[in-house]
């Protein structure tokens, strides 16, 4: 008997998972449809780009510079065990540009942007502002969802580009100031090893992460229920699911670029 109960619970969880995945895919499909069909709300999109991009610069910059610096020190320590301490510059730039820049910037923005979007749209939902939009003949997908998706997808690569540069700077500062490396040599090694594909793969990841961050914020906000508590839950769900999806898609895309 107990065995069957256990199976039933597993089955129920699995069905619930399928159901919410289905909802999400439908939501994303509808969002994409309204993304490509006019009218477009250009001014709102630009506003959102400023809110998402410009105001995230300090957070992303700080994350990048410390990560770059720590990376340099750790690689030096670890690398010296097999005479690889000379490769600090190369390892810092490749791991920053291909991996840590996009992922760390995206995780920081999952906390900052997904939650803000979920809270804003969720509040609009529970105070009937989304219904009000519809009665004023304005499609909430076009007016609320599409601008945020476009803004995040375009902005995150720009932020990541900044994060890459600042991260390499961090490694450079730690290596030259703390490890006493030669400044010119460090920059030369960095530029020599860097390939265009490193940058483009990192920025492609960033664009996908940006889309996921806005999508999770919009999805959980749009479907929030039941007052302040519901909005709070939507905010948490948005951050958690955005973070998990970022890590999942990071693996999928890395695997894809690898082959």
């Amino acid at each position: 008997m107990n065995g069957w109960n256990f199976l039933a619970i597993i089955g129920r969880i699995f069905l619930a998972f399928l159901q919410s995945t289905g909802h999400l895919v439908l939501f994303a499909g509808q969002a994409l449809r309204h993304l490509v069909l006019p009218p477009f709300f250009v001014r709102i999109t630009v506003q959102q780009m400023l809110r998402i991009g410009y105001f995230s610069l300090p957070v992303v910059g700080l994350t990048a510079i410390f990560t770059g610096a720590v990376l340099a020190l750790q690689i030096y320590v670890g690398g010296s065990r097999f005479n690889a301490e000379g490769f600090v510059a190369q390892v810092v730039v490749i791991s920053m540009v291909r991996e840590l820049g996009p992922v760390l910037a995206a995780l920081m923005l999952a906390g900052r942007v997904s939650s803000a979007i979920a809270a804003e749209i969720g509040t609009m939902r529970v105070t009937e502002q989304i219904d009000a939009l519809t009665t004023l003949a304005t499609n909430p997908f076009k007016y609320l969802v599409a601008p945020r998706l476009i803004a995040a997808t375009l902005t995150l690569p720009l932020l990541v580009l900044v994060a890459d540069i600042i991260g390499v700077m961090g490694g450079y500062l730690a290596s030259t100031q703390r490890l006493g490396m030669n400044a010119g040599l460090y920059m030369k090694s960095t530029l020599d090893v860097l390939e265009m594909e490193d940058v483009t793969s990192g920025l492609t990841k960033a664009a996908v992460f940006g889309f996921l961050i806005a999508l999770m914020g919009c999805y959980h906000g749009y479907n929030s229920r039941g007052g302040a508590q519901g909005v709070g839950a939507a905010t948490t769900d948005a951050v958690v699911s955005a973070s998990i999806l970022i890590l999942l898609f990071n693996y999928i895309m890395t695997d894809f670029f690898f082959s």
Binding site: Q129, D131, A132, T134, T135, L136, T138
Partner: protein, 262 residues
């Protein structure tokens, strides 16, 4: 498009069903509102009044039933066809539902700018005119909705609903939460504005005073159905025990509140 005849009701709902999970909220709503007339739906809290309006507006998808506006079926419409139907209607929400990211005048002008593609300068003028009509002063035009009292917010919501000059107006509990004087003022504003626009109106309320004042006829909803419908003047001698209990506000009678039934 062929012009609908005079005898086609502006709004006609039949057999409207809606359930949330196991909870059957609407179990076959039938109602009709003639062009230029005003109907009030009364009923207890949670009886499905707001759900009825949201189904008519297409904000909720009914499980079954027919909803006709000007004789045209709207229950299955989507996309531009539905937007065209929506453009005929204005709605005052229960909690005003003002956009808190915009100023008062931007709220009022929203429908004009978005749906009617009016240039902002002109829309602002129109918005100020609509605000004057509901007794709002120009000086609050640049304030945030959050800075206003509940009564003022209702007026802004009313101005926003009437600004695009809709053919149908929906009012969801326009007087709830207001003091009796402000409630009276809102009632008068509704009557004046509906008359001026020649609009068809559907008001939901549990405020009997308001229902008597603003409506030509009154319908009562109970357990997901319309159990009585008649001219507003007849509501006091309806002969229907449910209606009598509701308007006399008696705790004893055929209506048993869900909380008491448990």
């Amino acid at each position: 498009m062929n012009a609908p005849g005079k005898d086609v009701p502006k709004i006609s709902v039949s057999g409207l069903h809606k359930r949330f999970g196991a909870h059957q909220v609407l179990a076959g709503i039938d109602l009709e509102v003639a062009r230029g007339k005003s109907l009030a739906i009364i009923g207890g809290s949670g009886s499905g009044k707001s759900v009825t309006i949201k189904c008519i507006l297409g904000l909720l998808k009914p499980d079954s039933g027919s909803i006709r506006i000007d004789g045209q079926e709207t229950a299955g419409l989507s996309g531009t066809a539905r937007e065209q139907q929506l453009a005929k209607a204005g709605m005052l929400f229960q909690g005003a539902a003002l956009f808190d990211s915009m100023t008062v005048w931007q709220n009022v002008a929203f429908g004009l700018i978005q749906a009617h593609r009016m240039p902002p300068v002109l829309a602002r003028e129109k918005a100020l005119a609509a605000m004057t009509k509901v007794g709002l002063e120009e000086k609050i035009a640049d304030m945030n909705p959050a800075e206003l009292s509940g009564g003022m917010q209702k007026r802004v919501g009313l101005a926003r609903a009437i600004a695009p000059e809709p053919e149908i107006l929906f009012f969801d509990e326009p007087t709830t939460g207001l003091d009796p004087i402000m409630a009276g003022i809102i009632n008068e504003l509704i009557i004046e504005r509906v008359r001026e626009l020649g609009a068809t109106a559907l008001t939901i309320t549990h405020d009997m005073k308001s229902a008597r004042r603003v409506a030509d006829s009154i319908a009562m909803i109970y357990q997901g159905r319309i159990i009585w419908c008649g001219p507003a003047a007849d509501v006091d001698h309806s002969g229907n025990p449910y209606v009598e209990q509701f308007i006399m506000a008696k705790s004893e009678g055929p209506i048993v509140l869900d909380v008491l039934r448990a």
